[in-house]
Symmetry: C2
Subunit: 312 residues, 2 copies
């Protein structure tokens, strides 16, 4: 059901040796890289939930974000991005302009990460904008980072400062694909997850999958300047650290690594892997999350973050 | 952002040797079959456009259709279905029940076609139900059916009767995957497309891609009993044949084949490939579509079918 949007999308991109059949057929035909596994992820973004179109948010920003969150999932697996397909439900009103705008956000990010646009499905309707991107990557056999591999004694690291993403970084998402691949090539990583819904919520997911718990060192958590600004603006008493712990949409990676490896990574030059990695806690046997403050006092920590909820 | 729907989806399916990492991680890790290409397609279905939930249409029927239209795209490439990922925007009201219903439609069809559910993304919102499925298949190198390979002198075949799908077949879609693979193994096919938007519209797309035209033999086109029923119900003067030419959502395949191969296929037992294939016309050098009636008179034929349109 490809039409104008996809036709323009496909016309806008150079031919790619990974594509066996020219774009625009019933399906794309890709040459999978030899001796690698195929990594697949999908994320759907909806107007009014993941962005609010028009409210300081352009279609190009939506296109960027829709691709970036998928690339972030590939980064969390240490996978190399290869191809994406894009499905959209465009509002009938201004659908053509919105489709063009989406492309303006998707294409530069795809090019920057060496991703080929392999196809798509475009639809018009009277509802809000919906964009669903499926990203396909590759990884050497047995080398994908899983979320269930954290081990007691591992240190937890994060690839950048957290909190306050709503001030703009929730749209200008910077997926850590190159950083992940650089780390995977030079360090031993037991488990990884990207922070989409909130540091504590996503760490708790990793711990639950691994059958472990975690103690976060509160004064070690890198707090983003946006979290400081947000706390200063608001009057609800939420601290910058609270924002770092629960805001989500940071799209940094949390890594569980053998302690010596984590210390080696945290001590490395940011130039070597593209960002500064900080140790924020350790993996323990006791399930659940706890926080240790600067004085050494340990208290339970309730996972917070964005939860997709339904009416019953 | 996987939550209840995907958790249940993943829990409901058996482990699959094609999955390298257990479902539920940031992305799925698949073992691509050796020596085969990867075939990828995506289709998004929206409430009010592709189905009307509640109006005689259950969530299970939507789930079935959403998977079936993707499998039909794989069939049109002669690809073997391997894996799917499912992204949904569930209405907050009754989202949980709708998610369960979708699965009841998806799982049996996935099992029937040997497809593994590799992952997904579930979201809740205040909008209508949206389901986007990405299907991944495989095909031997150089063996994918393309839509641009039709040659002058080829005969056009169709894999089943057409028209009137709105009476129920538009939901109970029967993707021609097994039939396509059986045909691909035993016959030479130059081009293929599935009939999603309408026979004449989809044939015109194949002809345009191939740089050819087509003459359809009107009295040879297999008209479905639903087209007869629909024409009898309506008072707008649309004939059963008109329905067969333009209704769409038949999800039969149109194949362009060397004449001798087409005749051999049309003469074969339905048991051998799973359906009766009928020759409906021929590929000619002159662009565009024309119709030949039983008396041999040839007239221009305007492609008709479903077009996704925008307000400018």
């Amino acid at each position: 059901m490809e039409t104008e949007f996809v036709a323009r999308l496909l016309a806008a991109i150079p031919s790619d040796p990974r594509l066996d059949v020219p774009p625009g057929d019933d399906a794309a035909v890709l040459r999978p890289p030899a001796m690698r596994r195929t990594v697949v992820t999908v994320d759907m973004l909806m107007d009014g939930v993941d962005f609010i179109l028009g409210d300081g948010c352009t279609p190009a920003q939506v296109g960027h974000k829709a691709l970036a969150v998928n690339l972030s999932d590939l980064a969390a697996m240490a996978a190399r991005p290869e191809a994406v397909v894009v499905a959209v439900a465009l509002p009938r009103q201004d659908g053509d302009a919105i489709g063009r705008g989406l492309l303006e956000g998707i294409l530069p990010l795809a090019e920057a990460h060496g991703v080929t646009l392999a196809g798509g499905d475009t639809n018009a309707w009277n509802g809000p904008l919906v964009v669903s991107i499926t990203a396909i990557g590759s990884v050497a056999p047995g080398r994908a980072w899983r979320r269930d591999g954290a081990q007691v004694g591992d240190l937890l690291c994060v690839t950048g400062p957290l909190g306050g993403s709503i001030l703009g970084r929730h749209l200008a998402v910077n997926p850590r694909c190159r950083e992940a691949i650089a780390i995977a090539e030079a360090y031993e990583v037991h488990a990884a997850i990207d922070i989409s819904d909130g540091l504590t919520l996503d760490v708790s997911r990793m711990m639950q999958a691994s059958g472990t718990g975690a103690v976060l060192q509160l004064d070690a958590i890198p707090v983003h300047a946006d979290a400081e600004r947000l706390a200063a603006q608001a009057t609800d008493g939420t601290s910058p650290l609270d924002h770092a712990l629960g805001d989500g949409e940071d799209f940094e990676l949390v890594l569980a690594m053998p302690a010596a490896e984590a210390r080696r990574l945290a001590a490395s030059s940011p130039d070597s892997i593209g960002t500064s990695v900080v140790v924020i806690g350790e993996v323990v046997a006791e399930p659940g999350l706890r926080a240790r403050d600067a004085a050494g006092a340990v208290t339970p920590l309730t996972p917070r973050g964005y939860v997709h909820d339904f009416d019953a």
